[in-house]
């Protein structure tokens, strides 16, 4: 047995007897006999309890079967990034007062959680250049989906547009959320189903052009337009003209932005966007095979009452002391039930706390340095890979932390996957095989370079590519 039950059966029996409950089994009498389980004399579920040491061994064995950032240098991004996580973060979030508490329903004994959420909201506002922010969403994808639902609530239009190369998971989640309620999701210039090379516009032969270049002229039927920057391929472009064009036709402009990039790229608020969303995993959260991560959702102030999720506000207590509370709750499911702005009950509070502490430890100087180094290293690696003659660029123009290249002169659809397999043997996690996502991207490889990647690791990657492709 797990050893997590302090009151043992004998004592339990005595306690219950003392209050007149003679047969503890009778406590389950309300469950009809036909549904009691296990029924009869067979117990189909017979896994015995393991001691703590056995559990540790079992899970260590499983963990050893994975490649990880502890064993490999990771050049894979595509929405999840291997940035350095300062040591103090885990020590602080492991404090049981943060770790084991629940939603701050009782503000008097939850000021720690409430104030850290308020700090998270404030820091995201500073990054995005917007006035309000909620306490966090499940991930960047659901934040984008909820943002598009906000657009529909605000404008009473029933269609949204996904513009340019948006992360495939974000696209898919937006489709799931919106179509469930009968709304329409259009896409243009991304890599949606049916996008072929012929349909792709722009000056580049492989990737679609910039988001602006594929923006339809008529947006009058759309509630909102979502653009991702940096886009799925790492590309960045001026956002201001997109926001202006979208808003001129009565739609809301929504940007999905990587939070690290906002240290050195103009903010969505500054560029005129109404809503900003994104995946805040890069701020101090582990890769962890995909979660838990944490989405952020920030907006202009007039959209406040359309927002989903918990929001923390500042007030004073009855002695006039500065206090933080859950607020504007009349939007939420526990009050509005089926008329709520969303079904989301809580948030990703502990992940948001990691992001908050990450920003506090980095400070402005550190955050800018992380972004600057990630950008510079990605630029350097892309140049070096092209210089080998083994790869060719697949887009022109600037990028942040991530870029795509294509293996020159070879359209074998298996080649990237074999290259990644070869790299894995040499202690490197290679980039994403874009051919898996869209046939027109066969032979294309999406690589991410964070500040953690060293010159030596990048040289090893180049060398291994040379050995595999030219050798």
């Amino acid at each position: 047995m797990g050893g997590f039950v302090p009151i043992q059966p004998e004592e339990r029996r005595a306690m219950l007897a003392a209050v007149g409950i003679v047969d503890p089994e009778r406590l389950f009498a309300a469950i009809p006999e036909e549904f009691r389980w296990p029924s009869g004399d067979t117990d189909p579920y017979t896994d015995p309890a393991l001691s703590e040491l056995e559990v540790v061994r079992r899970l260590q064995d499983l963990a050893r079967r994975n490649a990880s950032t502890a064993t490999h240098a990771c050049f894979l991004g595509a929405g999840a990034y291997d940035h350095y996580q300062p040591a103090a973060i885990d020590h602080l979030v492991s404090r049981q007062e943060f770790l084991t508490a629940y939603t701050p329903y009782q503000p008097e004994i939850s000021q720690g959680t409430l104030q850290t959420i308020f700090e998270f909201q404030s820091l995201i506002c500073r990054l995005t250049g917007l006035a309000i922010c909620n306490s966090s969403m499940y991930d960047g994808a659901s934040a984008a989906a909820e943002a598009m639902l906000m657009c529909i609530r605000q404008t009473s239009r029933t269609k949204v547009l996904l513009l340019g190369a948006i992360h495939p998971h974000t696209r898919q989640v937006v489709h799931t959320y919106l179509e469930a309620q009968g709304f329409t999701v259009d896409e243009v210039g991304g890599l949606g189903p049916g996008d072929t090379l012929d349909r792709l516009s722009g000056t580049n032969p492989i990737l679609p052009g910039s988001a602006l270049s594929v923006l339809p002229a008529d947006l009058s039927s759309y509630a909102g337009v979502l653009v991702q920057c940096p886009d799925f391929f790492g590309r960045v472009e001026p956002l201001e003209p997109i926001a202006a064009a979208v808003k001129a036709q009565g739609a809301l402009a929504v940007a999905s932005c990587d939070p690290v990039s906002l240290a050195i790229l103009r903010s969505p608020g500054d560029c005129g966007f109404d809503i900003a969303v994104g995946e805040a995993q890069p701020l101090g959260n582990s890769l962890a095979f995909g979660g838990p991560y944490v989405g952020y959702l920030a907006a202009r102030e007039p959209l406040l009452r359309k927002m989903p999720g918990r929001i923390v506000g500042e007030t004073v207590d009855r002695a006039g002391r500065r206090s933080f509370v859950l607020t504007i709750q009349a939007r939420e499911q526990h009050i509005r039930r089926e008329k709520a702005t969303s079904n989301i009950c809580t948030s990703q509070a502990l992940c948001a706390l990691k992001a908050t502490i990450y920003l506090a430890l980095q400070g402005q100087t550190g955050l800018v340095d992380v972004a600057r180094q990630s950008a510079a290293k990605a630029i350097w690696l892309q140049e070096q890979l092209i210089a080998t003659g083994l790869f060719e660029p697949v887009f022109l123009g600037p990028f942040f932390r991530e870029f795509a290249v294509r293996i020159a002169g070879n359209d074998n659809p298996e080649l990237i996957s074999k290259l990644n397999g070869y790299l894995a043997i040499h202690g490197l996690i290679g980039g994403l095989d874009l051919g898996d996502l869209a046939p027109q991207l066969t032979g294309c490889w999406l690589l991410a370079v964070t500040e953690k990647r060293t010159l030596a690791e990048m040289a090893a990657l180049i060398e291994a590519c040379r050995d595999f492709l030219a050798g």
């Binding site: 997590f4 499940y138 998971h169 790229l265």
Partner: protein, 491 residues
């Protein structure tokens, strides 16, 4: 938005970015080891941010002291009894934290490929097997991030199932009036119309009301069992016949499954879809309100509709993620769900085994009934039956004497206890929903009961103590009206 023009902030509530700080950088990462790039020139002024976001540069000791001080203003499960009904605030075993942090889990990239992730996939496969056995269903998805997202995902599968059979007219989801607020909210987000079913005088689904509500448009019924009063819907067999007989599907809200672990299984009761809150019954930490995890289990007939990709075992013994699922409801989350939460739940199940999980429900139910027996005379008990893992008292008697349930809750804080869930379920006036869980100690149970009994006496003799409560906390009764009327949501 109230603009501030405030004096020096109170040192106890100073925000991290209100601390001084002067630009100095830190030593967290080494200097750049490739040629520097003029990023302003590279990106151009339309893209480059010339004024970085304002975040002060602080030294690590300042940051650590700040967050340590904030943590001390929180009440956690290890601080003391936390009988927050419906939330199952049980103790979270420490070893789970170590295991989730293993580099071979924490450092795995979600897209690094099936071959490089076999350990993660094997863990998910075994966890799925165990949860299927515990719940009596055939398949699970781990994508949903939390219970509410799990509800919505399960409802999308019900919708897809009906549509696959040409039953496009099944648009109505039945939800009891005692249900969690997420139930109707999730049903609305899944595109259903909601029809509320009133509870009978015994707190159970009123079978006549249910029959009257069922028609050919019925898509299904959402049910928490035991319900939010902590009572087992003993007519579940009949309810299942009625709903299925009308062509509907039965949805199990697993928020309260702690009460019946290894005693009864939702699948056997006729439920077609089950979501679990792993942060409740399977003991993963609540994190101050997330991350949780809301896996959804289904019977075989709903498996084609699971979110893609689906974990699959190949003939050669390797696991892989199958994206080719033509009838899938789609993707509900990026990547693979809250994997690190799943690691913790898996470790918890292994540590308990079948017998341990049965012990969990027995102890949880015993603790609740013991508290109920100690408190039943001092407070009103609107539904007077033996409870399962939780029970709901009413503070109506105290309210008449001038002390509301909120006053009782605040006074409990002065006694060193986390208050129960209050004013829920909505069908009980001045509700106090008490769930001690199986991990509460004898001292904790007795102390909590003693405190509530003492407070009941204070209501009679010294109500001012309740009105002034709490007096032991950094703040007391913050002005929530002001917060909502004149919002300050960031600084």
């Amino acid at each position: 938005m109230r603009m501030t023009n405030q004096k020096t902030p109170d040192p106890d509530t100073i925000l991290i970015f209100e601390k001084g700080g002067s630009p100095h950088g830190n030593r967290l990462i080494p200097p750049l080891d490739v040629p520097d790039v003029d990023l302003a020139g590279y990106f151009g002024e339309d893209i480059y941010r010339s004024i970085p976001p304002v975040i002060p540069d602080l030294a690590e000791p300042e940051v650590v002291r700040h967050y340590t001080a904030l943590s001390r203003k929180n009440f956690g499960v290890e601080t003391g009894p936390y009988p927050l009904g419906s939330c199952t605030m049980k103790y979270n075993p420490k070893v789970q934290e170590n295991l989730a942090a293993l580099p071979g889990f924490a450092g795995v990239h979600p897209l690094q490929g099936d071959a490089a992730s076999q350990g993660c996939l094997a863990l998910l496969a075994d966890l799925e097997k165990q949860l299927c056995a515990i719940c009596g269903v055939d398949r699970f998805t781990f994508q949903p991030s939390a219970g509410a997202q799990g509800e919505w995902t399960g409802l999308l599968m019900i919708k897809a199932y009906h549509e696959s059979r040409g039953d496009h007219h099944r648009k109505v989801m039945l939800v009891p009036d005692s249900a969690h607020g997420t139930n109707p909210a999730s049903a609305a987000m899944a595109g259903f119309e909601i029809r509320q079913i009133v509870s009978g005088p015994d707190g159970m689904i009123d079978l006549a009301a249910l029959e009257a509500a069922i028609d050919e448009r019925c898509a299904g019924l959402m049910l928490t069992n035991p319900n939010t009063l902590g009572l087992f819907e003993k007519n579940i067999g009949r309810i299942s016949e009625l709903v299925h007989g009308a062509g509907g599907q039965l949805y199990y809200d697993g928020a309260n499954i702690n009460a019946i672990l290894m005693q009864a299984r939702p699948g056997d009761m006729g439920f077609d879809v089950v979501h679990l809150n792993l942060h409740k019954s399977f003991s993963t930490p609540h994190g101050g309100g997330g991350p949780g995890s809301g896996p959804v289990g289904v019977k075989a007939h709903l498996a084609p509709f699971l979110p893609a990709p689906v974990l699959t075992l190949a003939a050669d013994g390797h696991y892989w993620l199958d994206d080719a699922r033509p009838q899938t409801v789609g993707r509900v989350r990026s990547f693979n769900g809250n994997f690190a939460v799943l690691v913790r739940a898996y470790a918890y199940i292994l540590a308990n085994g079948a017998d341990g999980l049965r012990e969990v429900s027995q102890a949880a139910v015993a603790n609740a009934n013991y508290l109920l027996a100690r408190l039943r005379d001092a407070y009103d008990l609107p539904y007077d039956q033996p409870c399962l893992h939780e029970f709901v008292l009413s503070g109506s008697r105290q309210k008449e004497m001038g002390c509301a349930t909120m006053d009782i809750a605040k006074r409990l804080i002065d006694y060193g206890y986390h208050p129960p869930t209050v004013y829920f379920p909505l069908i009980v006036k001045e509700a106090m929903m008490i769930e001690p869980t199986e991990t509460e100690t004898r001292e904790g149970l007795e102390g909590f009961a003693d405190a509530l009994l003492a407070i009941a006496e204070e209501v009679k003799h010294d109500p001012e103590l309740l009105h002034l409560a709490p007096q032991t906390t950094p703040i007391s009764r913050p002005d929530e009206l002001r917060a909502a009327k004149d919002p300050v949501l960031s600084r």
